[in-house]
Each structure stands twice: as C-alpha cells, then as structure tokens.
Symmetry: C2
Subunit: 334 residues, 2 copies
C-alpha cells in the first residue's frame, strides 16, 4: 500500500539494508560504484524517505522560540494569537513553541532574554541595537538558528527575515495615496518611532513614490506617535489645525486615536494605515480609513516556523526565506 521502502531499494540495488542506509544518510565507507548502484535504485523505485518514521526513529523534538515585545497593540495580539492557534497541531508534530515577551524598546531586556535561550532556533522581533546584533552572533555560534520577524536587522548574523518588504509597503501606500488624492493635497505621515527600521523604511518608500510620480502632493515632516493612540490623536488634530490635511499615512500603532481624530476633520482626509486589527477593520468598515496594508500574521508565523524547521534540519534553499506577502484591504475585501 505504501510507497517503496529501503528494503525495495536494497533488493533492486543488490546490496544489503545497511549499505542503503549508509548511502542515504551518507555515513561513508561505501565505494563509489555501490553509491551509484544505490542511487540508481532509489531513482528507479521512486523511493522517498518516510518522514514520520525517520522522525520517530531519531526521536527528534524541535524547540523553537519567539521573542516578541509585549504591549497591547492589536498587531502583537494578532501575532500571539497566530502562534497559539498553531501550537496544538505543532505539538502533534513534536514541535515545541515557547514565546518570550520583553518590554518594548527595552534592549537590555531583549538581550537578557536572548542570552537565556535554550532551543534549536529563535524568531526575534527586535529593535536595532549593536548589543542585539552581538547576541545574534553568540546564538549562532552556540548552534541556535536565528531569524528576524517583522523588523529586520540586515547586517546581523540572522539567517533569514520573515516580514514584508517595508520599502515596497511604503511605496504602495504612496501610490494609492497619490491616486486617491487625484495628485494633489497635503499629506501627514505618522510613524511610531523614526528610529525603528521598519517604520523608517516605509516612510522612505512612501516619500519616494510621491516625489517621483505625484509631485503636486505636499509632504509634512514626519512625526512620531510612539505607537500610542492618545499621542497620535493629538498630533493629527494639531496638524489639521495648522493647515488643511488631505491625506494621512499612519505607519505604526495607535490607530484608535487616528480614527477618533479623523471623525472631527472635514473634509475627511484619505487615511492609509498598517496592520489589519479590529480597530483598523472597523475603521475601514465605517469609511474612516481608506486602505489598510497588512502583513498577515498567520502567514508570517507559519513561515517563521517552517524556516526554523528547515534551518535546523540543515536544508538550505528549500523554502524561500524572502519577504512575506503584503496584503491590501479596502472596505470591500475585509
């Protein structure tokens, strides 16, 4: 009923089981001629290793970690949910997931968390700091694989990045902003923190496209909302008081404040925000927000886990560890 097994390969190749095993798991001590015979038999029978049996036999248990900032932004909550949702199924496959939360922007805390790690691989959503890059190097030399999540540290020892291409995200936002404004008006950009790499990259992409293709749009200097609803609300109201604001690009969290502010502004500015959370979803539905750029947390966590698994199994280019998909949501496709 099942496919061909090592026995079939051994029989066809006219060698013993032990030799087949030696070839398949390249343990050496096999002559070139025999290796060829076995490989031919593998090809001819179409033998494919039974992963279940292999994992069972070598009693493999994968231990993966997520290091993620705490904080009550909707996005973090979505991310945690996405991980939790997979936990049960993952346990059946002998994959143990541990989630470590650290205070946001607390570099020392993040370093401490990384230092304590005991696992096969880790996915980190980290700030950009030299201490953290050093810690990555230490983890790598300790045999722990490292991937970055959502926000990348490109020049670190990390082996992969799972998240969107933030420059492209900014460019996309800029393009839609230009079109929705019919090419003119004043636009306000609100980041969480300009020092955060993902935010600054989005800003850059946004600016670039508007300059290239929508020259009549005026860009106000970018402001920092600290991912905080009250701060965002205040900043938006101040800007709208100082001059008419036709468009708003909100890069970080704090969309609840943005929604409150927009309700008071007339005519309603075009608003483009990030991450499909309950807040942004209802903002879309009520017509307060015009477009939401989202990195799907379920996809991201699934891909992070798959990447960590590939890395620990020593597979190289099996999975493309490139950026994940950027999803766009209008009021019609939430």
């Amino acid at each position: 009923m099942g496919g061909p097994t090592v026995h079939d390969v051994a029989e066809l190749a006219q060698v013993s089981l032990a030799t087949v095993d030696r070839v398949l798991n390249n343990r050496g001590s096999v002559s070139a001629k025999t290796v060829a015979k076995v490989k031919a038999a593998v090809a001819q029978t179409g033998y494919v290793r039974n992963l279940a049996a292999a994992n069972l036999s070598r009693r493999r248990v994968y231990r993966f970690c997520f290091v993620i900032p705490s904080g009550e932004t909707g996005f973090i909550a979505l991310l945690l949910n996405a991980i939790e949702a997979q936990r049960k199924a993952l346990m059946e496959e002998q994959i143990l997931i541990q989630i470590i939360q650290t205070r946001a922007f607390d570099v020392a805390g993040q370093v401490a968390a990384l230092r304590k790690l005991d696992c096969d691989a880790v996915a980190v959503m980290a700030s950009e700091a030299p201490e953290i890059q050093e810690e990555f190097s230490r983890l790598r030399s300790a045999g722990i694989h490292v991937v970055t999540l959502v926000s990348d540290l490109p020049h670190s020892a990390r082996e992969g990045y799972i998240g969107i291409d933030n420059v492209a995200a900014g460019r996309t936002a800029g393009d839609f902003m230009g079109r929705f404004l019919h090419g003119s008006g004043t636009v306000l950009m609100i980041a969480g923190a300009l020092s955060a790499r993902d935010h600054s990259e989005r800003l850059m992409g946004f600016r670039l496209v508007l300059q290239e293709r929508y020259g009549n749009v005026t860009l106000l200097p970018a402001v920092e909302g600290s991912d905080d609803a009250a701060t965002v609300e205040k900043l938006v109201l101040e800007a709208a008081a100082a001059q008419p604001v036709a468009g708003i690009y909100a890069i970080g969290a704090g969309n609840r404040g943005l929604a409150r502010a927009i309700k008071t502004i007339s005519p309603k500015p075009v608003a483009i925000v990030h991450e499909l959370t309950p807040t942004s979803r209802s903002g879309l539905r009520e017509g307060l927000f015009d477009l939401v750029l989202d990195q799907d947390t379920a996809t991201a966590t699934a891909k992070a886990i798959k990447t960590m698994r590939d890395l620990t199994e020593g597979r190289e280019r099996t999975t493309d560890i490139g950026p994940i998909r950027l999803n766009l949501y209008s009021r019609e496709n939430i």
Copy 2:
C-alpha cells in the same frame, strides 16, 4: 526528551495501556468512570499524540486528486506549479497527489474524470452543471471527500470551497475603479464566460458597488472574451471605437490581448484584471494595468490539501474552510 507517551498516561491513570488506547481512539467498552480517569491523566500529563508514530503505525497513505481544466492560461499554469512545488515534501509525509486535467468547459469529460477517481479526497475546479453536482453526490456516498477550488458549486454535496469570495472581489474591483476614475466615465466589463459562476459573481459585485457609490459611472453591457487573448483584444478595440472607454474590468483570462489593445487606446483607460500571472505582472510594471486582484495559488493549493487531509482524518472544524485571501497588487507591490 520527548513528551509524555501513552505509557505515562496509563501509569498515572492506574489503568492498562489497552484501556488508554480504548479511550483515546474511542473504541468503546470503557466505563464512564475510567474514561474520566484517563482523560484527567491526559490533561495532567499534557499528553499529545505523536502524529508521526500514529501515521506510521496505521500505515496511512493519503491519496488526493486535483481535477483541473487544461488550457494554457497563466492562472492554470500557476496552479499546477503550486501543486508540483509541494509534491516532494508531501511525498515525505505519505501524501500522494494526482492531477487530472480535463478540457475546459467540457462537462462530459469532467464527469468522466470524476467517475474514474480512486482516492481519499478530491479538489475540483469545475463548471456549474447538474451532472457534476450529481457526480459529487456519488463521490461522497463512495466515501470520497469533495472540495471545490476557485469556482464554487454552493448547493452541491461538496464539503468545502477553497477560493476567494468572488462577490467581494468584484466589489473591491468596483470600489477601486470608482476611485481611480474619480467617479465618472464609461466602464467595459469583460468576463470569460457569463455562465461561469465565479465570473458572474465578480460581475455582480462590481456592478453593485458602482451603482451604490459611484452613480456617475456608466457601465457597458458585459461581454464574453472566452478566456482568449485574441477575442479579448478584438472586443476591447471594438468598444473603444464605439465610445470613449475610461475603465476596463477584465474578469477572466486573456490579459495578453487586453494589454495589446490598451497600448493603442488614448487616453489609457484604467484597467483592473484578475490573477497575478507573468502577463499581468508585466502589465502592472509597464503601467498598462492599474490593479491586479489575485488569489494566491500557493495558498489555495496548500489550503486545499490541508482541508482534504482534515476531512480524511475526520476532523471537523479544525481548519476554517472559508474563502482564501484576496490579494491586491499595484505596480508597487508585485
């Protein structure tokens, strides 16, 4: 090293291995009191079945089929690629995938293909015809699970639909069309076949939104391009000759013809098309197309396989078998 096993559960519950097995696989013949004891022990130890061992033991081999129309549209090619790309990894997990191609729009051929099926579950991209619905019922009663792919047959015996919500897709297209046109102009809609459910649903959603919110947009009667590039090109050129066309919504395949036609029309109409193929991708890049609505084939096939697996394993609401994500692409996020 590994987690708790059935042995640990048996020990803690003070029952034999056989009894634990009877409870876990509910084979009956166990008193309520004992069931409770075992379940408590499972909870206390945190026992989770080792899927690898379970599948190995019951020498499970999943046999899944895809029934898909042949034809050289880019979308079908993407779909096939997505399936092929997964085949190797799936084989390691004892999942055999068979792809059966039938001539497009050939109901009799599709029925014949379905009748010959010998597998655990099938994902079908089928036309809407009573013969096919009947065939679904037969498959179900033969113990073969059925899901529809890309195009749904809602009132059939199918147990799930993997694809986008086509009405929502049409609404999304309509909303962006309205915005890009600044609320006025004449719009041409080209479907592959008006009888195809996915196409007619998209049309409906598209029309609805424009009527509701962009009343000044004029809709030409929908035409059928038969998913053929030459036909589409001819239809577009004819329409553009008859009156100025400000926007085009292309619902089916044949985008190569659309691109050729658009190059000759001035001013360039806004073009919204479906499926991110090499053709639509370069159309975006060259500025010929303004928006591409895409159902990610990789996600769709992965979800189809997961759904078939869940159904075969008797799991009920494990995976949400709802619509997959609708992805939007502008020139900036391809």
